[in-house]
């Protein structure tokens, strides 16, 4: 059954939203979502890589020999990751300092390789673009939501602005790694309730 372009796009926003439904790419999800700003920055960087690599993999899918396809995908993905890294260094240096190591780690983010292997290498250009964009935006939204919750409870701020006033005692557990797991689990649980 052929899906329409719109369906390919919207599936990434709910039915296959990456960290919750596919439970993929958890390393950056747990690592960088201590604030909402970090989450959005990481999400947008991943979206760009995902979109570009999906386009290129899809365009080259008949040229790439099947036996070395993973190597080819990795070259394509790594190239775009370095593009993101350099551009972020040049124009958003403070964000680059905060995300640091997690930017090069997009290369091994299994969402990106997963979409290249499972979708873009088997589908045409337009569906692949829609798929990359949809999954990417879904990933960004998930990171932003998780970042917002952890930031509000963990440091008592939202986008750097104080929410509860100076008397608030920050719940520091939330900005540590276990807090991310608990938060992710609860969000997954709420999503399942809505199903």
């Amino acid at each position: 059954m052929a899906k329409t372009i719109t369906q390919e796009f919207t599936k990434g926003l709910w039915a296959e939203i990456p960290p919750f439904r596919l439970v993929l790419g958890l390393c950056p999800v747990l690592g960088v979502t201590t604030t909402m700003e970090n989450g959005i920055g990481m999400g947008l960087a991943t979206t760009f890589v995902l979109l570009c690599s999906n386009i290129l993999v899809s365009a080259l899918r008949n040229i790439i020999p099947p036996k070395v396809r993973i190597a080819c995908f990795i070259i394509i993905i790594a190239t775009f990751v370095i593009v993101v890294e350099l551009v972020m260094q040049a124009y958003a240096y403070p964000l680059f300092l905060k995300l640091g190591l997690f930017i090069p780690l997009i290369v091994v983010n299994c969402i990106v390789l997963g979409r290249a292997e499972a979708f873009a290498s088997k589908n045409g250009l337009l569906p692949s673009m829609a798929d990359g964009l949809g999954i990417g935006i879904g990933f960004t939204l998930s990171l932003a939501a998780l970042g917002a919750i952890r930031e509000i409870f963990g440091t008592g701020t939202f986008f750097g602005a104080s929410v509860f006033g100076p008397s608030f005692q920050p719940f520091t557990f939330m900005i540590q790694a276990p807090g991310a797991f608990v938060c992710l689990g609860l969000m997954l649980c709420i999503m399942n309730l809505f199903e």
């Binding site: 020999p65 036996k67 070259i75 394509i76 551009v87 040049a90 240096y93 300092l97």
Partner: protein, 197 residues
Amino acid sequence: MRELIKMVVVLTVLAAFSGGLLAGLRNGTAAQIEKQQLEFVKGPAIKKILEGASNDPIADRFKILDGDVERSFFVGKFDGKADTVAFESFGKGYGGDVGLMVAVKLDTDKIVGIEVTTHSETPGLGAMAKDDPAFTSQFEGFSITEPVKVTNDGGQVNAISGATITSRAVCKATTDAGNIYKKLKPQLSEKIKEFNK
């Protein structure tokens, strides 16, 4: 056989194309990245080690060609006299290069202060070189023309515990800064006169 050749050709072309693209982009963004580093990394370090300067050291900077490397020097004015320069050097740390900003008083050849700029050392261990002022303040007052070493190597600097490699890197960077300084001292003295007019 045909398949083998195709695999090799596709991979080579892809890798070459990617390399070319990245080299171009790197050249294109190098100037902008340098500007950003100046603002967010070197800037705060310079302000810290040249604290109390009456001018803006980041605005009052000049470049000297050392062999084929261009080095930036930042001038600090104290009591109305430009007599201090800050510049960057590097040492090999545990996780890559450790960048170090060193400020030197020209008439005494003594170190005014040092501050780590860029590093990728372990948080809590090597990263203490940047976060713990007690370590870097040991270097104040040392003569820049003498080699600096940690106590384990017969020197005078107490290493950060658990981070000897990083401590050595900082010492090495300071020693290197001394070599640069010795080599460029005549030009430095010449240039700094312009700031005293």
